[in-house]
């Protein structure tokens, strides 16, 4: 069975959802590229300022990152519009037209709303209030009015006037705006009524501020019933001419109602007031709105005297809208509605003018999907001739338009990717290949051999010392043990006789009370032992620190990383190239090695705690127990458990020393004694020689460190510029 329009629109929106996800990824990747390039930009500057080799500097200067960065930022801006567009839950139809051509009439017909919600009619002043009308079947018509904040009001409403009329500094607060009339209109604008009108509008905003400033401070939108909407979006009442002021504070009005046509689905109409009209400053906002929120544009044109031929105003309006939607195939996204009037209207029958425009449309340079001739005031014609056709068109073409849209963006990204890639290729070689190995290698070998010997002497010496102390009790671990046992003894959790009696009464029997106390005392005890973890970690960290000291002092490695202890070892492991496996592994093993309470001690303590477990304990209550008996039993068991745990722990006091010896020996096996590891060290130190022997190698003018920094930044930019990262949308469908 054929799907209804509503269902078909849902399918389109679903597909957009997956495009939105892919666009998110694309945005993320482009942001990464942006930050990698920003980083390269900073690095580029710093390298140029530090390097002494003129040849290299000249080559680096050829590289223009600024322009590429600008392009990346442009793409980011477009991508960030793509996501809200594809995440939207409605298809949006924007209605565009000059004042008095029937735009509001068309909106009224489509939505079923009247003048009290959508102001129309000749003479109505263009307010610029943005308005969206959502088709929400089954709901009472209502409006939601969203207001500007103080900031957005100054930035989006007032600032465009200042800019367009060249009035200088924009006020920074409402007070400043209200208290200071704008400077007089510059002379060169003074003779143009358009600018004078604009200046007049600005003054009205200022002098009327007291009428609407409350709304700018209010944070919540207002919910209003249908026939009150006009008070928020129009300048005055249609009949009584009573003035309204609130529209000046309104950022957007959202109207919810059921459109009076069958099977429409998730459709939203967008009124774009004033686009193409003079006298309004903030057209930028409207263009923004078109680019993000509109899927199809309906141009409304009333053929009438004297304008019954296509003229520059029509083309200007078309171009404005088209440029806003620059990545869209605009000819597929727009319709031209010729508003037909009949003899019973004020304007009489305009049939002749309509036919004239229709016949000459091909000469107008306006390229739309279709030209429709219909009366915007006629409910039936709007439904049959406009809405049916537009919806049919959308259902048919919108998926390919979406794809076209995203592909356009993507192909620009691909081009950008190629440009970035080509630039990166050029600059990789800017540093040349460095100075020849023959000139520095003999020095390096001398330095390396000395370092190798010093490192061996230092580490083997430490190992000898640790071996001789293997059976020595570890001080920090012992200290923590003593603390734990003291805590066990001072915080026993054993109740008083009185408490036991109360507990018996509340639990119902001595037996139950006893068993519960056993659990409580046991968990209290075991809690005290958790602190041993700290002691174990501390004693091992002391050993690691000693190894690190030797690595820094004898092996000069301190210049490679600022950290200490495990962190230092990890940093070195990261710096060591992957192919030097043994060396890397040695550092990783030592860094990762930990002694833990859970691994080493817990199970040895746990078994002694069984005495305090109701099912396991050997000390059961007698047949006629008393509070005194419970007290004595708990005290005896508590003391016994501490005694046994203390014994078990004292057996373990040498463990940290044993473990320290074992792990340091393993470390030395990996990094000093394993086959071929001396070669590994040589390869590693050769790469970082400028850091290890700063003075010796900087004097040779090699700029090794800068070169490494630069190449790393380039490498990161390359990774971020991987063409595979742009593939995501091409793969779609």
């Amino acid at each position: 069975m054929e799907m209804s329009r509503r269902e078909q629109i849902d399918v389109i929106l679903d597909k957009r959802g997956s495009l939105a996800q892919k666009s998110e990824k694309l945005l993320q990747n482009t942001q990464n590229l942006n930050s990698a390039l920003q980083n390269l930009f900073v690095c580029h500057k710093s390298v140029i300022s530090q390097i002494r080799d003129d040849q290299v500097v000249d080559k680096l200067r050829e590289f223009d990152l600024g322009q590429i960065l600008e392009e990346v930022e442009n793409e980011l801006a477009i991508l960030s519009k793509l996501i809200p567009r594809f995440s939207r839950q409605t298809l949006n139809i924007g209605v565009v037209g000059h004042a008095g051509h029937g735009k509001s009439t068309l909106l009224q017909s489509l939505s079923g709303l009247k003048d009290d919600a959508i102001p129309s009619g000749s003479g109505a002043h263009v307010t610029g209030t943005l308005c969206t009308i959502h088709n929400t079947p089954g709901s009472e018509p209502r409006g939601k009015i969203l207001y500007h904040t103080e900031d957005s009001f100054l930035l989006e409403v007032i600032a465009p006037y200042y800019k367009k009329l060249e009035l200088g500094k924009v006020p920074e607060s409402l007070e400043e705006f209200e208290d200071n009339p704008p400077p007089p209109l510059p002379n060169r604008f003074a003779n143009f009524s358009e600018f004078k009108a604009m200046y007049g509008h600005l003054e009205e905003y200022r002098t009327q501020l007291y009428n609407y400033r409350d709304k700018l401070i209010q944070s919540n939108p207002d919910e209003v019933v249908k026939n009150k909407i006009r008070e928020y979006v129009a300048q005055r009442d249609a009949d009584t001419k009573q003035s309204y002021y609130l529209y000046r504070a309104v950022k957007r009005a959202e109207i919810y109602c059921e459109f009076p046509y069958p099977d429409i689905g998730k459709i939203t109409l967008i009124d774009t007031p004033g686009l193409g009209d003079t006298g309004l400053a903030n057209t930028e906002q409207l263009i923004n709105l078109l680019s993000q929120d509109v899927d199809i544009v309906l141009f409304v044109r009333l053929p009438k005297l004297p304008r019954y031929a296509w003229d520059s105003e029509d083309v200007k309006l078309y171009d404005q809208a088209k440029s806003a939607m620059m990545d869209l195939p605009f000819n597929l996204c727009s319709f031209m509605i010729l508003n037909r009037t009949t003899t019973d209207s004020q304007l009489n029958d305009n049939w002749t003018a309509c036919e004239e425009l229709k016949d000459t449309f091909h000469t107008s340079h306006i390229d739309v999907a279709r030209l429709i001739l219909a009366s915007c005031a006629d409910h039936e014609q709007v439904g049959k001739l406009i809405l049916d056709d537009v919806l049919k068109h959308m259902i048919k073409h919108m998926p390919s338009i979406d794809l076209h849209y995203s592909r356009n963006i993507q192909s620009r990204l691909v081009r950008l990717n190629e440009r970035v890639s080509a630039e990166l290729d050029k600059i990789t070689t800017a540093f040349g290949t460095g100075i020849s190995k023959e000139s520095w290698y003999p020095l390096f070998v001398r330095l390396f051999n000395k370092l190798w010997m010093d490192l061996n002497v230092g580490l083997e010496g430490l190992l000898r010392e640790l071996r001789s102390q293997r059976k020595v009790e570890d001080d920090s671990f012992k200290e923590e043990q003593v603390k734990a046992v003291q805590a066990c003894k001072s915080q026993t959790g054993i109740p008083t006789i009185n408490e036991i009696e109360i507990r018996r009464d509340s639990e119902g029997s001595f037996e139950i009370a006893y068993n519960k106390y056993l659990h409580e005392i046991r968990s209290c005890l075991s809690g005290h032992f958790l602190g041993l973890d700290f002691g174990l970690k501390k004693s091992l960290e002391i050993i690691k620190a000693r190894v690190v000291t030797i690595l820094k002092e004898k092996g000069n490695l301190g210049t490679l990383a600022e950290a200490n202890g495990s962190d230092f070892l990890l940093r070195i492991a990261e710096i060591i190239p992957d192919e030097l496996k043994n060396l890397k592994l040695g550092f990783q093993i030592l860094a990762d090695f930990e002694l833990s309470y859970r691994g080493l001690i817990q199970h040895r303590i746990r078994k002694h705690l069984d005495r305090l477990t109701p099912d396991e304990t050997t000390l059961k209550l007698s047949k006629s127990p008393s509070a005194d008996e419970i007290d004595k039993c708990l005290r005896a068991l508590h003391s016994e458990v501490i005694y046994e745990c203390e014994n078990a722990l004292s057996d373990l006091r040498c463990e940290p020393s044993e473990a320290a010896y074992a792990i340091v020996e393993e470390f030395i096996d990996r990094i000093l004694r394993a086959k071929g590891v001396k070669d590994d060290w040589q390869v590693f130190l050769e790469k970082v020689r400028a850091d290890i022997w700063t003075q010796e190698f900087d004097q040779s003018g090699e700029n090794l460190k800068l070169r490494t920094e630069w190449l790393t930044a380039v490498k990161h930019a390359r990774i971020a510029n991987d063409p595979k990262l742009i593939d995501s949308i091409i793969d779609a469908d």
Binding site: S624, E629, Y643
Partner: protein, 317 residues
């Protein structure tokens, strides 16, 4: 009865006597102390039993103090129920302090004389001292070296077979499971290594029979913990349950092994041994007693921590 001060020699003897009648059951045999022994043992027994009154106890009776002249010999008559005893057993209980290095040479000599004269020696071992804190207090309390030294001189030129019973007492905690018992035995073997090496030397291997018989002198009281106050250890004991009563375990075993040993000596046909002739003469007069002794010796335990370390031919069933 050999063992350092406070380890529990008198307690063992009292328990052995007190439990005899209930452990031999229907066997027609009775152990009768002489008047003086009876009075002393009765007194000791009351002390032992009173230990079960308190939940936490010290785990033994007051250490025997005194000069060599105070040294007591407990004399028991062994015979059929309701009849004149056929055999007299002399248990020489001496103050443990005799082993102290500061004690006078004549006291040490006294121990050696006793060892030479007695057919059997019971070495009483304080189990918690042996087992706890990796044996930290073992040497201080059980004095294994002094005991070894005493045997070394006393068993020179040994003519007649001897039985040495190693009797760990206050061993309730270490007899809870098979694993515990194995641990106890291995600890005895390692801590008394030099004594056991002496017995298994070429000169003594065929003449000395050695057996381990752990005795739970109170049964109802178990070792709890060592509290070290000013570096002096205090061994704490507690009852196995709040309402537990005096209930010694295996206190009959040293006596059973002793009787089994005597029986074997009797059967042996080695007539060169003077003492054997005496025993043979004694037993020869009472076939009924021999039968009863055989029945008693059948009850020697041989599993767990009860283990014959050497001299199976003198002790085997």
């Amino acid at each position: 009865m050999l063992g350092s001060t406070g380890v529990g020699k008198t307690s063992l003897l009292a328990a052995m006597y007190e439990q005899f009648s209930s452990t031999v059951g229907k066997i027609d045999l009775q152990l009768t102390p002489d008047m003086e022994s009876s009075a002393i043992l009765q007194e000791r027994l009351e002390e032992l039993q009173s230990l079960s009154d308190e939940f936490e106890a010290r785990g033994g009776v007051q250490a025997t103090e005194g000069e060599p002249s105070d040294l007591r010999t407990f004399i028991f008559g062994l015979g059929r129920k309701g009849q004149q005893p056929s055999l007299q057993l002399n248990f020489c209980d001496y103050p443990g302090g005799y082993h102290l290095s500061k004690s006078a040479p004549e006291r040490k000599q006294h121990i050696r004389d006793l060892l030479e004269e007695c057919v059997a020696a019971i070495v009483v071992i304080d189990s918690p001292a042996l087992m706890e804190k990796n044996g930290k207090y073992h040497h201080q309390i059980n004095k294994p070296q002094q005991i070894t030294d005493a045997f070394k001189t006393a068993y020179q030129d040994l003519q007649t077979p001897k039985l040495v019973i190693l009797a760990p007492v206050r061993c309730e905690k270490y007899m809870q499971s098979e694993k515990d018992a194995t641990h106890l035995i291995s600890k005895i073997k390692s801590e008394y290594q030099s004594l056991l090496c002496l017995f298994s030397s070429n000169a003594l291997l065929s003449k000395v029979a050695t057996v381990v018989t752990p005795v739970q002198t109170l049964g109802s009281v178990i070792f709890s913990r060592v509290e070290e106050i000013d570096e002096i250890p205090h061994f704490r004991f507690r009852k196995t349950s709040y309402d537990a009563r005096y209930n010694p375990q295996d206190s009959d075993q040293p006596l059973r092994y002793l009787l089994r040993f005597l029986l074997k000596l009797h059967i042996s046909d080695n007539r060169k041994l003077k003492i054997l002739n005496f025993i043979r003469d004694l037993f020869g007069m009472d076939q009924h007693l021999i039968r009863a002794l055989r029945e008693v010796s059948m009850g020697c335990k041989t599993t767990g921590a009860f283990i014959i370390l050497q001299g199976n031919s003198w002790l085997g069933s």
